[in-house]
Amino acid sequence: MADLETIELVKDIDVDKYKYGFETDIESELAPKGLSEDIVRYISAKKNEPQWMLDWRLEAFRVWQNMEEPTWAKVSYPKIDFQDLHYYAAPKSTPAPKSLDEVDPKLLETYAKLGIPLKEQEILAGVRKQGEKSELDGESGGEYASGKVAVDAVFDSVSVVTTFKDELKKHGVIFCSISEALREHPELVKQHLGSVVPQGDNFYAALNAAVFSDGSFVYVPPGVRCPMELSTYFRMNAKNTGQFERTLIIADKGSYVSYLEGCTAPTRDESQLHAAVVELIALEDAEIKYSTVQNWYPGDAEGKGGIYNFVTKRGDCRGAHSKISWTQVETGSAITWKYPSCILRGDHSRGEFYSIAISNGRQQVDSGTKMIHLGKNTSSRIISKGIAAGRSDNTYRGLVSAHRKALNARNFTQCDSLLIGDKCGAHTVPYIESKTSTAQFEHEATTSKISDDQMFYCMSRGLSEEEAVALIVNGFVRDVLQQLPMEFMAETQKLIGISLEGSVG
């Protein structure tokens, strides 16, 4: 069914295939261009942060000043002028909306246009009753019978609204913007911020630590299974602005949370910088499932414009028997530099990484994961599906390592690449380091092309060229697709079709 929708959508596409490229005409408050201690102070003051937070930022800024931009990834782009950017942009009309009613209608409209459900009221009003099944729920069923998704909407540098906060509160779950968390739960933020990705971890993480403006914060108390899917939707709108969000998720003992982030940006000729940090902490017996559907503007077919996406995501399986699972669908951005990782510190902890990375046009993707086995009997699993079309370059880069105390560490890695056409590239760069003889690491890799035989076979059954590509690619990524929350599977299948539009012929 979903494939038919894919086909439908692919067919309806006009010349501009990126349908999220519109710009919202909304006045924003911008920090002056450039980066200095003053700008760091400006951002911190805008957010009424405590002194310790400002000090933390300034420390990061000083570290960053002495760092070099990393060059080891297989991506090339013109040098970024970090002084030519705005580091803070906020829609003017929204000082601090308490509820959906107070949110600027223009913003709500923007999110509606993006298909993001900021519609708590509708659900409360019974438009879609609680527990009602959507047709997309399918046979495997969603993780959450309620079909509800709580959304934190981040517009440029600020969170504009978070839905379902009250209902989550009843379960003890804290879900809010990180700015609000700093005000309301400073002790939790202070304890955990930077504990997984320290300020000086890498060039972009340090930059983020200095200037991050907003992002989401989640805390799930011991033994609580978060009653609904949590989601953050990032939208970059203002020109010449970088987006630097920071997300912190803490799953206390025996808790469970599933979280999804999505992102889009307007079509622009100039490139924009996005450098986010995500930190996940899973204590004993806790489980975090983190899914991303990344659809930043990829630039045009000739490589003009598009987002530079330099992201540091890391999860710490701090407690025994904890589990962190990353699922990512990367279709956007001109440049993707992203390695969601797991530190398997707790004994018997488990890390997973499922990835679909699609590149078309002139996109460059260098993405993968790191699985750092520290505890005993830890296990990890990596399934990566890279699809390269057009003149794009698609690299899987991954590290699996076992500390000498990581007895019986186990990893299974499977990297499959699919090439469409003969002007693109797929590369697999696995690093494996084991300091214990008890580790068992398996690595499998394949590279294939969509064969003329497959295309002809599908077409001889009535599928058009683009329908055939969408079908074959959806088949290729099936294992990973199944890891996504049900609500987003169909959407993702469509996205795959759209991303590959124009990849044949």
Partner: protein
């Protein structure tokens, strides 16, 4: 229904001709068998009819229901009712057979300006056809042709044919690799599709298949041309004497 007139075909990147003036006329309801030695151009004919890339028609014409078939893309030909049962069906990993059938059927229906078939109607549409061909639910859930045995692949091809209900069926060596029981099941499936408004071209090297799918006409294809046409008894004669009389002698 199908008029092939003086068809000359070569591979795009070679100068050697494969079909050298083939003429064939097939009416609705008829079953034509095309037999011939290896390399006579049998598979080329099936590919040219279904629109595979890599072949160049240098002379002649093919009209299907009065329309120039060669001007159409493979998917357009499919929507108009041309179906090729592949000699070597292609694997599509990760795509369930059931899903493939549905996407294909609805793509064709849409191209013909018909409404897509609803999920329950589609299930019914597939169910009894699958049962007749001994295709289990499990097989329908498995990815298209992946890990299928030779017999399963051929049954799946005929199932696709039964579901898509084409008006011209081209069967390319559907008997190859089948044991006698599998051959019987496949042949019964094909026979069930015989109807006054549907034509079939059965391409085969061996007479064996024609015991089960009894043709109206048998043609001998040799060196790119039809060199002899007869009734079903011609197949028996070929079985007995072989193709020796028709193979071009090496100089």
């Amino acid at each position: 229904m199908l008029e092939i007139n003086n068809l000359h075909v070569k591979l795009e990147d070679e100068s050697r001709e494969i079909l050298k003036g083939l003429t064939l006329s097939v009416k609705p309801g008829e079953v034509h068998a095309i037999m011939g030695p290896n390399g006579s151009g049998k598979s080329t004919l099936s590919y040219v009819l279904s629109g595979r890339e890599g072949y160049e028609v240098t002379e002649g014409s093919v009209t299907f229901k009065g329309e120039d078939l060669l001007a159409l893309e493979p998917d357009q030909r499919a929507a108009k009712g041309v179906f090729l049962a592949f000699q070597y069906p292609i694997e599509i990993p990760g795509v369930a057979t059931m899903q493939f059938l549905k996407v294909a059927l609805n793509a064709q229906r849409k191209a013909r300006g018909q409404k897509e078939m609803s999920a329950p109607d589609f299930m019914r549409h597939v169910k009894d056809r699958a049962a007749r061909l001994n295709v289990s639910q499990d097989m329908l859930r498995r990815p298209v042709n992946v890990g299928f045995s030779g017999g399963e692949k051929k049954r799946a091809e005929i199932l696709q044919m039964a579901v898509l209900e084409p008006s011209l069926c081209v069967l390319d060596e559907t008997d190859s690799g089948l044991d006698i029981d599998a051959l019987r099941v496949v042949a019964e499936g094909v026979n069930a599709l015989r109807s006054p408004d549907r034509a079939m071209i059965v391409i085969t090297h061996y007479q064996r298949l024609l015991d089960y799918i009894v043709p109206d006409k048998v043609h001998v294809l040799s060196d790119g041309k039809i060199v002899r046409t007869g009734g079903k008894e011609l197949a028996l004669e070929l079985e007995e004497k072989g193709y020796a009389d028709y193979v071009v002698k090496a100089a």
